[in-house]
Symmetry: C2
Subunit: 197 residues, 2 copies
């Protein structure tokens, strides 16, 4: 009974507008891509004006940035949800990979985070967002495995980088209707090979 209908607070109104903009932007950008989606179309779908958009976001790319943050946070949240503990290193990595693939299968998410996002914001900013949001989970896993001697004595950052890229590719393929079973096998092959020697 806190807020009746006549009295609509500013914060509430603001949040609602923002949600409408992000929702419309997500829908259109997922369907047609960032460059092909104009701000007039976005605000029309969100049922606000361009003035509202530029009041909330500094420019069109800033709206995309907010969208990317939102999706990245969702991924992090979903992955942290099913964090299973103490297994073999390979099983742990595979569990993480599957959780990532699953989170990335949300409709449109792979396109936002793996295609349009990097194109608009650049790889550098995307990496930074990953760092803030998901953190370097993969690298930590590698460090843990390496500490137990499960990996040879090689620099881990590049290896984590390459693996991360491969995971992204697999997630994109699966999200686009690829054979998830086959891609999971290939992922396991990569991971098993690393952890063996």
């Amino acid at each position: 009974m806190q807020d009746a209908k006549p009295r609509r607070k500013q914060a509430e109104r603001r949040a609602e507008t923002r949600r409408a903009l992000l929702g419309a932007a997500r829908k259109l950008i997922v369907a047609k891509g960032y460059a092909e989606t104009g701000t007039p179309e976005i605000v029309k779908d969100a049922d606000v004006t361009r003035g509202a958009l530029y009041h909330h976001f500094s420019d069109k790319a800033d709206l995309m940035r907010a969208l990317v943050h939102q999706e990245a946070a969702a991924v992090a949240s979903e992955i942290n949800a099913d964090t299973s503990t103490d297994q073999s290193p390979l099983d742990a990595f595979m569990a993480g990979a599957k959780a990532y693939f699953s989170a990335m299968s949300a409709p449109g998410r792979a396109r936002i985070l793996l295609l349009e996002g990097p194109a608009v914001l650049g790889l550098g900013e995307m990496a930074e967002i990953d760092r803030e949001t998901g953190g370097a989970t993969l690298l930590e896993g590698l460090r843990h495995a390496a500490a137990q001697g499960a990996i040879g004595d090689i620099p881990l950052e590049p290896l984590a980088d390459l693996l991360s890229s491969a995971f992204d590719r697999a997630a994109l393929a699966i999200a686009n209707g690829g054979d998830s079973e086959a891609y999971e096998q290939a992922t396991k092959k990569l991971l098993a090979g690393i952890l063996k020697a």
Copy 2:
């Protein structure tokens, strides 16, 4: 002595204009990115008019397409140049990877083929260009290794896909000043792991 000079005039002029356009586009797109480079700027740098550009290319993306084709062809050519024969599978793969990294280190090439190209043309068309140009060298290598029992019984296309993505990431990192030694080590680790069991 087939064609004297009078007969070659038009074609020569045409080729010159096209070269100028591609050169200017390459320079500007490498420096500032595709979206931030307008056609007025390109034709100004190439010292022609926008009419010439739209006479040669159907639209701005088509110019980008030609640029991508040009770079992809250059990569294929450089890689085929140093094709060394019969070595161990791992050495063969590593030789190919190093040749790829080297070819991708040409200034601006990684940005064109790995960042702007996919953003403008989409992953599908980029894959098609790769297929036409470089061919599925990596996949063939895997098939060869698999035929000798060097890889387990798993689908090879996804594996080649993931490896290709990892190679691209390594090439991009190296081209951007990353530690090539470290990335080559990581690449070798990935490959060795796969070829072992």
